[in-house]
Symmetry: C2
Subunit: 321 residues, 2 copies
């Protein structure tokens, strides 16, 4: 954002991002399953971002932000507030460049999340679990360190980075009729829009969202951003609301937003583990849940599915609780 005018990333920015992050992120494989094809009636191409070393597509946007800093900015490092994959992916990227990463996290965040951030060298400052506390503590940290703020999704560098995922997907699986990605804050979906609207404009983009956190769906219908206060869903990576930059892309390029119930998400998660044999998060199961629920849209089609992440508490699997 500059002077109140949105700094919307361009297709060129995405191409630059891809060259920039290539040495630092994995070109993830696309996997298929005859069983899941049969079940859905579609040809499904799963882009396995859960295979990234820190376990999520967010390493793309984070790496683009970190490696795009000039030397002066880089010395002061980066800063963010997040208790999820963005925090660990930004720490991972900063560690790779050898610069500091400051993360503000609620003190109530799971110990495993804190451990991962620390394993990648991230410096955690804890705050009380409220928005006002987080903002106050973050302002203090940023003022003290001068770290460059990298928002989890509402940042043009982040969106350009996430867009590299569907560039690879199109190279790996041509002629896709549709691409389905989960939507929370809209970073991955915006990156997908950015890339496909130029590279494969005939490919439709579907966003998949939990019924119990359907703020993007309602925003899409209303024509403006509606933010939920505190949605609750098993797909815990998808609770955050759209922001102006992601709304820009979602409102222009997404064909539809489909929703799935909690049970449908858990079922799709388990069936993917069983037949694709990958460990993925519940948030990543929302696309398949919506595909199985809407056969009329997907039948006979070539469909890209973004498996966004694979950081799961293996002691607390949702179909066993």
């Amino acid at each position: 954002m500059k002077d109140g005018i949105m700094d919307v990333p361009t297709y060129e920015d995405m191409l630059v991002a891809h060259e920039r992050i290539k040495p630092h992120v994995l070109r993830t494989p696309v996997r298929r399953s005859a069983y899941l094809d049969e079940l859905s009636g579609a040809q499904l191409f799963f882009k396995c971002e859960n295979f990234q070393e820190p376990g999520a597509f967010k390493v793309r946007g984070a790496s683009n932000a970190v490696f795009g800093l000039n030397e002066d900015r880089a010395r002061k490092g980066v800063a963010t507030h997040s208790s999820g994959n963005h925090a660990s992916c930004l720490s991972f990227a900063a560690m790779k460049r050898g610069i500091p990463c400051h993360v503000v996290m609620p003190r109530t965040a799971p110990q495993a999340k804190k451990d991962t951030v620390r394993r990648y060298g991230g410096k955690i400052t804890e705050c009380e679990p409220s928005t006002s506390a987080r903002e106050a503590v973050f302002a203090e940290v940023q003022a003290r360190t001068g770290g460059d703020f990298v928002h989890p999704y509402n940042d043009p560098r982040v969106i350009a980075g996430q867009g590299t995922c569907s560039k690879e997907l199109v190279e790996q699986a041509d002629g896709l009729d549709l691409v389905v990605a989960p939507i929370g804050g809209g970073g991955m979906v915006s990156g997908t829009c950015l890339t496909l609207s130029t590279l494969a404009p005939e490919t439709k983009i579907i966003a998949a969202e939990p019924e119990q956190a359907d703020d993007a769906y309602r925003s899409f219908k209303a024509g403006h951003i509606i933010a939920d206060d505190a949605p609750d869903t098993v797909a815990d990576g998808l609770k955050v609301p759209l922001k102006d930059l992601t709304w820009h892309f979602v409102s222009r390029h997404v064909s539809a937003i489909y929703t799935a119930s909690e049970q449908e998400i858990v079922d799709a998660m388990k069936i993917t583990w069983k037949h694709l044999r990958v460990v993925m998060e519940s948030s990543s199961a929302v696309p398949l849940a919506t595909i199985l629920k809407n056969p009329e849209t997907f039948k006979g089609k070539r469909v890209g599915v973004i498996i966004t992440g694979g950081n799961v508490d293996l002691d607390r699997l949702p179909w066993l609780t």
Copy 2:
């Protein structure tokens, strides 16, 4: 076996097998994890046979046997006795060729295993859960159908097929110092020996076995086959004993057999799910368990690890029971 002389498969047989099965099996990816490299002190290259459609490397040997039959033999189909991955992989290969597959299974086998065989068109004949009952019923089924007997591992076509896995591994990860594979009946290890002894003779082959089913380890030390009666281990794919053909390869080409405890196997399984983010069987965790247990052997080395299968009961994970 022919006239009491072993029909030992050759390197040429493996090359023929690879061409034959290429249209029917997946060239599985090799995956890496910076975390697991750091933990082991080695460079680990995981060959993901769990990604085969029916979930196990056994689809290679089964496909080689099925697609190698001439038309006359093929019409009568194939037959085997197995309650594990061989039964479903042979059914899968037979389904692909459009020929019958007869499987003798103990009536006490898990319903999920029976369901998978039937999903691939396999015809199950149940028997009482004893060796004598199984042999009698199998003799009857074979006499009635004329199906070609494909043993789960003690068959030259099967061993030649399994050998195609390490041919791909060497193409995907060059300069390997060691390859580690789990050992039960020895089909995968024998195929690995067959291939590497010609293609990469400087690469050492380590077999990994559960302490609680260490008949191969004791055979290796004794210099002749020792069969356990009824070993019990979480790595339930590895309970079967060596036979003459697999002993031929194991006794000539394996450098060492390492064992791991039940807890070490379960820990290695969980850590692989968490950091490599793949769903694999407990049997497939034995190699990593032995690698972590014997750092002096593996430190600084380039190590291939065969992830043999991914058919897991997701409702009964061993670290949760």
